[in-house]
């Protein structure tokens, strides 16, 4: 790997400190337990988990790269393909669907001109269909970049949200 590629993989000191805090939660001989947190932190900084980035995280935790890659591909909030700057995930499971989630999904598709699993040409938005987020009473809802939940959505609040996300 060329040196410049390696530099682009390097995580910020803040991210590395956060990963250290994850490692500290587990017994000293169980560093691998921190891989879920470490991958989340790496993805948060870099936008998505390239194969090289997963290997970089695996090295930090002294674990085989394949074991980290298994984790990255098993849990569905990790993105192992590039995504837009703003990933919107809509829960369409039954309780949400009963409360209007499909209508919100259709509105998002129309506004963004893309379907589920697609990214807008300008790289601004990715739209995903998600599974139960454990907040069914507040449906319809979506997640922005995995971490911020927007609940009780209406077409108007969806429009306001999209306008805010540059």
């Amino acid at each position: 790997m060329a040196k410049s590629d390696k530099d682009s993989l390097r995580l910020s000191q803040e991210s590395l400190n956060q990963i250290d805090a994850e490692v500290a939660k587990y017994p000293a001989d169980q560093k691998q337990s921190a891989v879920m947190g470490a991958l989340r932190i790496a993805q948060g900084e870099k936008g998505w988990l390239s194969r090289e980035l997963v290997e970089y995280v695996a090295n930090l935790l002294d674990m085989p790269a394949i074991a980290a890659y298994e984790v990255a591909t098993f849990y569905n909030m990790y993105d192992t393909q590039s995504v837009g700057r703003h990933k919107i995930t809509v829960c369409t499971n039954l309780p949400c669907a009963l409360m209007g989630a499909n209508e919100i999904g259709e509105h998002l598709k129309k506004r963004l001109g893309i379907g589920y699993g697609e990214t807008t040409e300008d790289g601004r938005f990715t739209l995903k269909e998600g599974e139960c987020m454990g907040a069914c009473g507040d449906a319809p809802m979506c997640l922005h970049n995995n971490h911020v939940m927007h609940t009780h959505l209406t077409p108007e609040t969806v429009d306001a949200l999209l306008d805010k996300l540059k």
């Binding site: 939660k25 587990y26 017994p27 169980q30 691998q32 337990s33 921190a34 891989v35 879920m36 947190g37 991958l39 989340r40 935790l61 674990m63 074991a67 298994e70 984790v71 098993f74 849990y75 569905n76 909030m77 990790y78 369409t92 499971n93 039954l94 309780p95 669907a97 009963l98 409360m99 998600g130 599974e131 139960c132 987020m133 454990g134 907040a135 069914c136 009473g137 507040d138 449906a139 997640l143 995995n146 971490h147 911020v148 939940m149």
Partner: protein, 426 residues
């Protein structure tokens, strides 16, 4: 309201406070008194387990297993490391009660876990929090820091030799990790694939050490039981179904949300609390315990009380207490299609009957919904479902089969109509 008054709001009493999640609110209202008393008075673990058994507290995550009995399986005198793990991986469609405990009453869970650590001989605990609720994970992390700074977690608690540390582990999107052994694999930094049982976690759990895993609401109920006694908790509910429980009501009601009521409360009362079926519509069907529980027609449900035994007698499960309400506008084929897709998507792929069967069932229901159903499809669905249920390592297989079987049992006419007329009868 406070933790010192024995009200029906066992886990939800903080919700009307200005800062419900804060340590100050919790301590000012009796929080951490039970832990202090247990540790400083060196109350024996046997006594606490006896109170839990008396209370008839049953696991609030879905299985309803008696908590006191589960704790008694733990080799408490075993000299090595032991763990207490909380399952806050709440992803059973319809369930959103643990999220409210974590964001409005995190200290009661922390206190419950510390008491569990004391009883079970665990010096370290982990709380596994569902991936999609990152903001709630952060609230819980803040609560942990508050508890550490105030000396409720850490070394030599209350000047004794008891030490207990607790950490939060954040999931990242896998329904299967709600299964307790998949959850342990996940904490170990692996794919969340369930383990064969036996050995059970009490003998071979996290990192191969004895481990007890309980649901959030179960552990958060423990300080209340220690404070007021097992008998008082039992009396909030009914025999064999002790205590109050949070019910998550979603779907076609006017006021979706969490309602904590005594076990044994009539379903009709809960429905009324949730504002009734939305705007004058009629009750068609209810899934009483999260998406994996068999669906029941509305008229059967209206005769049920909300407790493990009554719902089981009616042919379903109280499960996690997630009540999904459907009115007469719902197409049951379409509803089942969505649930079937969920289990197909979330199968971990380890066992062939589940990996292949969930996809097969989804494809058959999908074609019925889209006007391409075949006359033999209903029988085929029942056949596939019966070959998944009971033939897999974990309960996800059963969870995928039960909705299919129950939808066909109670609403088979709608499926047959779809097949025959290539369209919906609703």
């Amino acid at each position: 309201m406070s933790l010192l008054t024995p009200s029906i709001k066992v886990c939800s009493w903080t919700q009307d406070f200005d800062a419900p999640a804060s340590l100050a609110t919790y301590v000012a209202n009796g929080g951490y008194q039970a832990l202090r008393r247990v540790i400083t008075e060196k109350i024996s673990g046997d006594d606490i387990i006896a109170q839990l058994k008396l209370s008839a507290l049953r696991g609030r995550g879905g299985a309803g297993f008696p908590t006191g009995l589960k704790w008694s399986f733990m080799p408490r005198a075993f000299p090595g490391d032991k763990y207490i793990v909380c399952n806050s991986d709440e992803g059973e469609p319809g369930t959103f009660k643990d999220r409210d405990i974590l964001r409005y009453n995190p200290h009661q869970l922390i206190e419950g876990m510390a008491i569990a650590g004391y009883v079970l001989g665990a010096r370290v605990g982990y709380n596994y929090i569902h991936g999609e609720i990152f903001e709630i994970y952060q609230i819980f992390e803040r609560a942990l820091n508050e508890a550490r700074e105030a000396g409720y977690l850490g070394e030599n608690l209350f000047g004794t030799d008891f030490c207990f540390q607790l950490h939060a582990h954040h999931g990242y999107g896998a329904y299967i990790c709600g299964e307790e052994t998949a959850l342990l694999e996940s904490i170990e930094g692996k794919k969340g694939q369930p383990r064969f049982k036996p050995p059970f976690p009490a003998s071979f759990g996290l990192y191969g050490k004895p481990t007890t895993i309980n649901n959030t609401e179960t552990l958060a109920s423990v300080p209340w039981i220690v404070q007021h006694g097992g008998q008082a908790f039992l009396e909030l509910g009914k025999p064999n179904n002790g205590g109050a429980k949070m019910f998550s009501v979603s779907g076609h009601v006017n006021k979706p949300g969490n309602y904590e009521v005594g076990l044994g409360t009539p379903f009709a009362e809960l429905l009324e609390m949730a504002g009734g079926v939305r705007n004058g519509h009629k009750l068609k069907a209810v899934i009483p315990g999260g998406s994996s529980a068999p669906v029941l027609p509305g008229n059967i449900m209206m005769d049920c009380t909300l407790d493990f035994d009554s719902i089981a007698k009616a042919g379903s499960m109280l499960g996690s207490g997630a009540v999904i309400v459907m009115d007469e506008t719902v197409c049951m084929v379409r509803a089942l299609e969505r649930l079937a897709y969920f289990y197909f998507e979330e199968s971990c792929g380890q066992c062939t009957p589940c990996r292949e069967g969930t996809g097969w069932m989804y494809r058959v229901i999908h074609r019925i919904e889209h006007g391409q159903g075949r006359p033999e499809d209903l029988e085929l669905l029942n056949s596939v479902a019966s070959k998944i249920g009971g033939h897999t390592i974990c309960a996800l297989g059963d969870a995928a089969a039960m909705p299919v079987q129950s939808f066909l049992k109670h609403f088979g006419d709608e499926f047959a109509y779809h097949v025959e007329h290539k369209r919906c009868m609703v």
